[in-house]
Symmetry: C2
Subunit: 453 residues, 2 copies
């Protein structure tokens, strides 16, 4: 019996229409990456599990897709442990490789492995799929693309300025109005010290990261549960409530953290970055958000998050500065800063706003109908001529009914139909139909490329 075909849950097929839209996004991001001097790398889909394990927390380890060893994978597996269901302990016996979970850890591994050949600062971009054995749900997939750009080997804040200009350019090209939220980990650390709870930094950032979702009171309640005393929470309130323009917020923060060196340094960095952005001219709205912490605890300086202004959806781009990306692979103290574009959410935003340019939606400019052997032969030659002039053209392969051939052109939204019939063949002409207007005219064959451009 024939199988009913399907694909694993949480994965997707992309047809031609979706691919055109996705490629429009990737091509836009890629060309801006290049304009800013970032260079592409690619790493294998599979990494050794020793590279991946322990890098994403206990939960992350579980979400790694693991590759079953080839050949007799039962060798070295204790049957008693199988009986006892000790899957976690047995996994390293039956699997040595896993699918990459993000592009950050493979990038760190790449930098360390190829350190001898790399020029520092190293500016790389990488656009590849990643895999996570997450529970699939709306907008969350088990296979999705990440688009990352990072500079490592330079602690200059100029990199932050360049990356934010790059982000600004990508979204300007896509036509998406954005707000860039910015913060600095040193400001967060300074706040924790300032309120007398320096050891609670992780608890504080985890809690205040939720302020947009659950509100100030719920965050304060959660901070209480996490062991912050009332004095600390009260000291935190005015900081979280800072409002006003970017400059007003920076001034308020500067004053509040004046006695704290870490926080003061963080404010100074924020000022340098935002001043730089003012000088280069940012189209996006820029907002200092002291509640911005982001999940990953590995940022050490600037923290960045981008939201679409006209569509209610989570962060569509994020990033920040880190100081110890490569430490776990034996190369400590390499500072870097990076951003990651969320292609799937950007796709959703463009769909919601219907922002795809018409050119991005189809590729073939003209299709020749097939009215018989001699006519098709002439059409083939005419199509070849067009292609030589850069015009994407196809020839309907079968001598099918006119209605069917026109239906094909229509369904694929091919803008022009070219017809070489008996008469056209005799006089070296072609009848060209504009599918949008219905207009139709007979022109000389050698005028066709001109008529189509």
């Amino acid at each position: 019996m024939a199988q009913k075909p399907s694909i694993p849950k949480g994965t997707r097929d992309f047809g031609a229409a979706e691919m055109a839209r996705r490629n429009y996004i990737f091509d836009t991001i890629r060309s801006v990456f290049r304009l800013y001097g970032f260079r592409p790398i690619e790493t294998p889909a599979m990494e050794n599990l020793s590279t991946l394990m322990g890098k994403y927390g206990e939960e992350g380890d579980k979400l790694l897709f693991k590759i079953l060893n080839s050949g007799d994978w039962t060798r070295g597996v204790d049957p008693a442990m199988v009986g006892a269901g000790e899957a976690a302990k047995l996994t390293p016996k039956v699997s040595e490789k896993g699918l990459r979970y993000d592009l950050t850890v493979p990038f760190a591994r790449f930098v360390v492995q190829h350190r001898a050949e790399l020029q520092m600062p190293f500016k790389r971009y990488q656009i590849q799929p990643v895999w996570r054995a997450d529970r699939p749900q709306k907008g969350r997939y088990r296979e999705f693309y990440q688009c990352d750009a990072d500079v490592v080997g330079s602690d200059s804040l100029l990199n932050e300025i360049e990356l934010l200009n790059l982000v600004d350019e990508v979204f300007a090209r896509l036509g998406i109005r954005i707000t860039i939220k910015i913060n600095n980990r040193k400001v967060l650390a300074g706040i924790a010290e300032h309120i007398g709870a320096p050891d609670k930094l992780v608890d504080i950032t985890t809690a205040i990261d939720k302020i947009d979702k659950i509100g100030m009171e719920a965050v304060c309640a959660e901070l209480g549960e996490r062991g912050l005393d009332c004095a600390a929470i009260e000291a935190l309130r005015p900081i979280l409530a800072i409002g006003g323009t970017l400059d007003e917020r920076l001034c308020a923060l500067e004053t509040l953290l004046a006695a704290n060196p870490t926080g003061t340094l963080g404010v100074k960095e924020l000022r340098e970055v935002t001043d730089g952005l003012k000088a280069t001219g940012l189209r996006a709205e820029l907002e200092l958000d002291v509640s911005l912490a982001r999940g990953l605890n590995y940022y050490t300086g600037t923290i960045i998050e981008v939201k679409a202004r006209d569509v209610a959806i989570g962060s569509i781009t994020g990033g920040g500065r880190y100081d110890n990306l490569t430490g776990v692979f034996g190369m400590p103290g390499l500072s870097g800063v990076g951003i990651s574009f969320g292609a799937d959410r950007i796709y959703d935003v463009l769909n919601a706003l219907d922002l795809y340019p018409a050119e991005a939606q189809n590729s073939t400019r003209v299709i020749f109908l097939n009215l018989g052997a001699a006519e098709a032969a002439a059409s083939l030659r005419a199509a070849m001529d067009l292609r030589a002039q850069g015009v994407a053209a196809e020839v309907y392969p079968d001598t099918a009914k006119m209605k069917k051939q026109m239906g094909y052109a229509d369904a694929l939204r091919i803008p022009y139909v070219a017809i070489i019939g008996e008469e056209e063949l005799a006089e070296s002409s072609v009848t060209l139909k504009n599918m949008a207007t219905g207009e139709q005219s007979r022109i000389a064959l050698d005028a066709l490329a001109g008529a189509l451009s």
Copy 2:
């Protein structure tokens, strides 16, 4: 202790220089695919094992990379079978998904699954990596890209003509001189019938596929071992020895197979395709090769193979017509024809012939040196202006020693270095150095884009 980073054997990292070369190949193939009206699709890296198993023979099943089930994968596994080392029987218990082995089976699955939405004929291209747990060796990898184009839902030979013109165009653009070898499965079947061994078709094609490698005598010996009698082998010899021009070969074959309807149909198809190619004008050398059978036994008509004329390497592109791609998924009788470009071998050929254009090798056109905060700020703005005019530019992020900054530009082969120092800053000028010639001149800042283009 820090881990020494490495990647799984048979996989590769691609640095910026290799990526530039690889992208040049993929971009060339992709743009020709588009010119011919092929539309992109993408399928997930993971397919259900039920989709993949049994499609590549017993050996292929072993070479599939299988994904270990998430969670407690020991559930349902009989410990006794683990003890007995019955890995093959247990694999379906611990794994439901595998990595795609080629693009053909996922494409067939895609066509059947989305048949309701697809317009026939369906012309798709697909450029994605595939994975095989093969023993890694020189030129053979466990992860590599395939670049496929197929037309399904049309049995017109016009598709063959178009695909071969497409192949011709790709290699003309890449500058690789090629020979296209062509054959037809019906000719092979006709030969088997003609020599009185119709049931030995697979043995005959498997053996004569090796004629280039082991020679006529060894092939005849092998055919004897495979059970062909002397009369059959003697009847085969004149067919395998057919030589001369394309037309001479077609005539000889036509005469020899005149009494055999299958073979005669095959010759007629070959003639139609080669006549069509003559009419459209092929730059490649076209050779009728009756020993061409290719490994896969699923071709039913035209068989195509491309060899580089100036580099001794295996086939760099191959393909053919098939009539039952989708039958196993419940959609019988769908005819199609496709080709697959071997990107890794094309990469090797281009390297051997040193055929990469200079433009393909670097992206950044100019780098601004960093001589201090005010100078860098001016450089940032100048870089932004250049990018707005489409010129890829970067700014060295740190105020490092001149020698180090120049070394960076040199190592990355950035063709121009721009210097805004104190003097240039004062007069809104820039010193531009051509890294190839060493020439250096000071020009007005607003003349920079012009000087770089």
